[in-house]
Homo-oligomer: 277 residues x 2
């Protein structure tokens, strides 16, 4: 059962925020949806799922990316889930890069995280079913995200190409098994056996892939996290030895912020629209 | 002397945040500026001043309005000042609608406010001089704002038509001497003599005007503050008896939020560009 938290008219469509009980994460989750003006029972629209980065909720993208104008023009709904389970009963950590706000879009196997941190199942299975049951949308889905959410979008698309038509990412964590953010989170959520980490690593997944979805990655050259945490060149090096067209756009002078995302979100929406519409 | 706090590349231009000592408000002030890609020493660009509403800082508009894409296309700089003086030594109040974050763009005459709350002089005189001295901008200025900032934009433009080429507002407080927000703030800042309030009331200023700038007002019909606080019909009724063209657009279903502002900011930028370029 969805509970409406708030709604705002936006570019002729609606921004709506909901809470609901999740069976996968075993707690109350919130998400936001932008419904373009075209969406109606007579015209179901496709959906772009947006996965946010560390510390974010559903709000950052909806408030700061400036995506609604183009989404309204293209007739695309956007769903922005939260970045982790939440609540007093949900395990947490004082650090910004572990626990609430840092779910890393995986299914945790280790205590105390495994009880609620099942974000992979939530994003891949439970949320799309809920969206398609409750809103005038069809089953054409694209997926994108930023930083930790870029990691989420890439891994989920690589593991489930049948569920989506296209994937894109801004400043994604491309090789989490080889960077501080990923090593810290995967150690906690998945344990010390690094073989269990590989199923959530974009480089490893691309290495083993036989086909991939249309993929576009945007990366700012002045991003403080580029060389230590994000490593898009690792992904590109694997793609070069494969018959895959991974479009990596290095954008001169841009950083890791939403000012960067806003500058290129319209191009990503147009990229996905080619396959969604 | 300007101190750079942060900068982000945005739509080929730059979003920059600065602090500086203000002689008018007698404290450290912050503002943000968006410089479009066209701005250079060889090509000075015009400026839109944006005045924000209650509780806001320079950040709300820059992060949430989605104005940079169109401003970059049109070659318009945007300056977003803070909404009041700030700091431990600056008088304050626990309420959201008085004190810091609620300067109402006037010059206070009453203790303890008058020492720092000189926002009218700061916005009209000090800030434009500072901007024109430090950035590649020309002296073509437009002014706009939201709610309390819509009040600020309208009153400042009505009092200083020689300083601006056009004025617009989203959900402005049109008749502050006759609404709870205005009565509370003006009583505190200006004292109980209501005749001193009239110089900061858009309806009173329009009533006494002999000519006005091109003026556009956007108002959502589902704005919770419409009938009690904003009262755009009061302004329109005065304009009807004058040879003035005040364009008031009532937008069906929109509320008081930045989702409303974002939906129509491009149209306001295009409106101002007619006069700025």
């Amino acid at each position: 059962m969805l509970q409406l938290i708030s709604e705002n008219k936006s570019f002729g469509g609606w921004h709506k925020k909901f809470s609901h009980h999740s069976n996968k994460t075993n707690c109350t989750m919130q998400f936001a949806i932008f419904l373009p003006p075209q969406a109606s029972e007579n015209r179901k629209v496709p959906v772009l799922y947006w996965l946010s980065g560390l510390t974010c909720t559903d709000e950052n993208f909806m408030q700061k990316a400036g995506a609604q104008k183009m989404a309204a023009q293209l007739g695309i709904a956007i769903v922005a889930p939260d970045t982790s389970p939440r609540g007093e009963q949900v395990a947490n950590d004082d650090a910004y890069d572990l626990g609430q706000g840092a779910g890393f879009y995986l299914n945790a196997t280790q205590a105390p995280w495994k009880e609620h941190y099942q974000m992979y199942d939530y994003i891949v299975h439970e949320l799309p079913a809920l969206i398609e049951q409750n809103f005038p949308v069809n089953q054409k889905r694209a997926i994108s995200g930023h930083s930790m959410g870029g990691h989420g979008a890439l891994t989920i698309a690589l593991k489930n190409p049948q569920n989506y038509v296209s994937v894109s990412a801004f400043s994604p964590i491309c090789n989490p098994v080889n960077c501080p953010w990923g090593e810290k989170a995967f150690s906690a959520y998945l344990g010390e056996d690094k073989s269990s980490w590989l199923q959530y690593d974009s480089c490893e997944l691309l290495h083993g892939a036989t086909a991939i979805l249309p993929m576009r990655i945007e990366q700012g050259t002045q991003d403080n996290f580029l060389s230590d945490q994000l490593k898009p060149e690792s992904l590109l090096n694997i793609a070069k030895n494969k018959p895959f067209d991974v479009q990596l756009n290095m954008q001169e002078g841009y950083d890791h912020s939403y000012y960067f995302i806003a500058s290129f979100i319209d191009e990503h929406l147009a990229f996905h629209a080619q396959y969604l519409n």
